[in-house]
């Protein structure tokens, strides 16, 4: 069963959270950010081409125009492939682990899997980020030898940066699955 709800990111952009329950101990949460808008794309392209035309009018060198076209194309490809993240998803499988996927606008997907033995907890943390204090969801990792200490912190949803109401929804969904770890017998 899938349900989708609309929220706002930390910057005010609309994002959509989709929750799917695959089984009793497996849940997928996907956050979709806003798509690349045609108006911002045309604004950036016109700005670059106007600047190039101004340079051409001053310097009478036609290479400036072809260089501007080239730069616009290459810049757009690089932006879509390396920068613009369309969807970030979290797949929590109770006995197995947590998988974090980022899908870029060009179709590229980058995936990280963390096994359940290394996961200590999924928490909402507050930290200072660029002159603001933001809430963000993160996975606390533990060393297998030292279950009391936190060895690493993996922040999630870095590019869509949801606000606290969305984070609380995701947190509750994850905690429902993580709580089953304590009640279920350890199988090793």
């Amino acid at each position: 069963m899938a349900e989708e709800r609309r929220f706002r990111s930390a910057a005010g952009l609309p994002i959509a959270l989709r929750r799917r329950q695959h089984s009793a101990s497996c849940r997928e949460l996907a956050l979709r950010g806003p798509r690349l808008q045609l108006r911002s794309l045309s604004a950036a392209t016109s700005a670059v081409w106007l600047a190039a035309y101004g340079l051409f009018a001053v310097s009478e060198n036609s290479m400036v125009l072809s260089a501007a076209i080239f730069i616009t194309l290459i810049g757009l490809i690089i932006y879509l492939h390396f920068v613009k993240i369309d969807q970030e998803s979290l797949l929590v499988i109770g006995s197995l682990g947590i998988q974090v996927t980022s899908s870029y606008a060009s179709g590229k997907e980058s995936t990280t899997f963390i096994e359940m033995g290394r996961v200590k907890d999924v928490v909402i943390n507050e930290a200072i980020h660029m002159q603001k204090v933001i809430y963000y969801l993160c996975i606390l990792l533990q060393d297998p030898e030292d279950p009391q200490g936190v060895s690493e912190v993996v922040p999630l949803f870095q590019s869509s940066k949801p606000r606290l109401d969305c984070l609380i929804e995701v947190y509750r969904s994850c905690q429902e699955i993580l709580e089953q770890r304590k009640t279920a017998p350890q199988s090793n």
Binding site: D121, A127, I128, Y136, V153, I168
Partner: protein
């Protein structure tokens, strides 16, 4: 002991500093404004170039301006990144001792782990 009250020694230090700073200021004005030929005729030939009378204050003011920007940048650089454990705990919290729980007494002050805090804030009361 150490007290901020006025003392005779402090009055003397203050007056010596006051006289010294006035002397330094008058000396700086003499060096900057009196023409070189007059200083030479007095026998003072080995004073620094007058260029420095303008350059040093300018250096100081630019340094103060850059200091604002530098301090801002140092602050930003020493802020812990989002993926560091310093946002969650530190050495004092790791080494704290757990006091035994006593009935009817106020619990001792301690650093509560972030998982517990999250459960209290965000999970509905059972």
């Amino acid at each position: 002991e150490n007290s901020p009250a006025p003392l005779p020694e402090r009055a003397i230090y203050g007056f010596a500093l006051f006289l010294g700073s006035w002397f330094g200021f008058i000396l700086y004005l003499i060096w900057a404004y009196i023409p070189e030929s007059w200083l030479f005729s007095l026998g003072l030939t080995y004073w620094p170039q007058k260029y420095w009378a303008v350059a040093l204050p300018v250096y100081l003011l630019v340094a103060v301006g850059i200091g604002y920007i530098l301090l801002f940048g140092i602050n930003m650089m020493s802020t812990a990144p989002l993926n560091s454990t310093h946002t969650i705990t530190d050495n004092f919290a790791k080494k704290q001792q757990q006091k035994k729980f006593q009935e009817e007494a106020i619990p001792a002050l301690r650093d509560i782990p972030i998982s517990e805090v999250n459960r209290m804030f965000f999970l509905p009361e059972r």
